[in-house]
């Protein structure tokens, strides 16, 4: 199992370097949006010779014009040639509404956008030249749990994969009552995972929001543990990225990486 950290911007390089240098992490997921204007060898120089994944945040592949996506894909492909990522992952969400950027990512209406999602995921994969992993969304309003069936059908239709975020599944359960067991077969079909901290809003009803700036909840570790218990994939294939975007405390991050390794060690 490769236990990784997320590199979100040049500003967090010193933290990530420390965690890679002392072997707390042995995998680095690069939020490629914030580095794509650079030469990829610069990133290799600062993270060293560790395996990498590419995470994409702002492709907005559901919304953006195809010509722009093609332009972005050309850049990403150059990075793929050089850094050879284990995977490329992206987000399926609503970033804008009637051309206006939203200050909080919104969940798509799964039934309404299914056809477009299939078309766009296929197109985006074709342009990137590889299979894409789509991260499950930290649901807030998906009361019927449509997301799980949506992802299953999307995978069947387009051949894309799932980047399973354990914490997002916990958030969906807290906000919408979607039982985590609904994700089981999908979560076990992928070797690539995320885990991170989330906050609960102070209002009533409180909503869990994916923030990556606080400690990981026990429930999220519990989801990861049950995946490890059931997952029959080889040790080399599995990646778990402990995400931290803000309010970074290297010692706490190190302890969380250590917790993930201990959970894995306890069942293997």
């Amino acid at each position: 199992m490769r236990c990784g950290v997320n590199l979100t911007s040049p500003r967090v390089v010193p933290y990530v370097q420390e965690l890679l240098d002392d072997s707390s992490a042995d995998f680095c997921e690069i939020l490629i949006d914030n580095f794509l204007h650079l030469d990829p060898c610069q990133v290799r120089d600062v993270i060293g010779d560790v395996p990498v994944g590419f995470h994409i945040m702002w492709s907005r592949f559901m919304e953006r014009e195809e010509s722009e996506l093609q332009f972005i894909a050309r850049q990403v492909r150059e990075w793929v040639k050089f850094l050879k990522p284990v995977y490329i992952s992206d987000h399926l969400a609503q970033f804008s509404f009637r051309g206006r950027m939203l200050p909080l990512l919104a969940e798509v209406d799964y039934q309404r956008v299914y056809g477009r999602a299939c078309q766009r995921v296929s197109f985006w994969q074709h342009e990137l030249g590889c299979r894409l992993l789509i991260e499950n969304f930290p649901s807030t309003l998906d009361k019927d749990g449509c997301q799980v069936d949506f992802y299953r059908q999307l995978q069947d239709e387009t051949g894309c994969g799932l980047l399973f975020d354990c914490s997002n599944a916990v958030i969906a359960q807290l906000n919408c009552g979607v039982d985590i067991s609904k994700w089981e077969s999908l979560a076990l079909s992928t070797p690539n995972y995320h885990i991170a901290g989330f906050r609960k809003t102070s209002g009533e009803p409180s909503i869990a929001i994916d923030t990556h700036d606080v400690l990981i909840e026990e429930q999220s570790y519990g989801v990861l543990k049950s995946i490890f218990e059931e997952n029959r994939l080889s040790e080399e294939e599995i990646t778990v990225v402990v995400e931290r975007d803000a309010n970074i405390d290297v010692l706490a991050w190190k302890e969380e990486l250590d917790s993930v390794r201990k959970i894995y060690g306890s069942i293997s």
Binding site: V13, P14, F35, F71, I72, Q75, L102, L104, G203
Partner: protein, 185 residues
């Protein structure tokens, strides 16, 4: 869920108390508040303690103008404030500079907001609110570097400059730029 509510406080308040919809819209508007005020501390002083006297009417205006709320938002906010000085707010030069710098930084930090940005390394912004200088912001030049913000001589007088403009820079050093263009909506 009416997603307009993520950018419209009165619509957010129209959701019934105790609903996920209302809480979500509040959360979105709180994020927007931070996007607006965090890079501009002196702006908040003009509308203390909670920024509402600026934020709420600006958002009404922004919706009317269909602003994209992308990197150019702070420049539009500055222009809106300049045109609505009837409520007696004097905008200090420091605040004007903060607002233009906020837009430039948002451009430099948001590689993928506009895909065309990817092939450019820096932005220059000249505003009729800034007499005598231009704001430049450059993306991080190295994988562990920070973005660079610079105030450059030039820009001309407010009379000479009809409207605010920006120009993109493709060279890794210096500020040699392409043509000046109007600030996008």
């Amino acid at each position: 869920m009416r997603l307009e509510s993520y950018l419209n406080p009165s619509m957010a308040r129209s959701f019934a108390n105790g609903t996920h919809e209302r809480e979500l819209a509040s959360c979105a508007l709180r994020n927007l508040w931070h996007i607006v005020f965090d890079p501009c501390p002196s702006l908040l002083q003009l509308a203390s303690p909670d920024g509402k006297t600026i934020m709420e009417p600006f958002l009404v205006w922004a919706e009317d103008k269909n602003l994209t709320m992308s990197w150019s938002m702070h420049i539009h906010l500055l222009n809106w404030m300049e045109h609505t000085q009837s409520h007696g707010i004097k905008i200090a030069d420091e605040t004007k500079r903060e607002l233009v710098v906020a837009s430039a930084i948002r451009w430099a930090a948001g590689n993928m907001i506009d895909a065309k940005n990817l092939s450019h390394l820096a932005i220059l912004i000249r505003s009729k609110s800034l007499n005598g200088y231009i704001v430049g912001a450059r993306k991080a030049a190295t994988a562990d570097g920070d973005l660079e913000v610079k105030l450059l001589q030039g820009g001309g007088s407010s009379e000479a400059l009809g409207s605010d403009e920006y120009a993109l820079v493709s060279v890794p050093t210096g500020w040699e730029h392409g043509e000046w263009k109007p600030i996008p909506v």
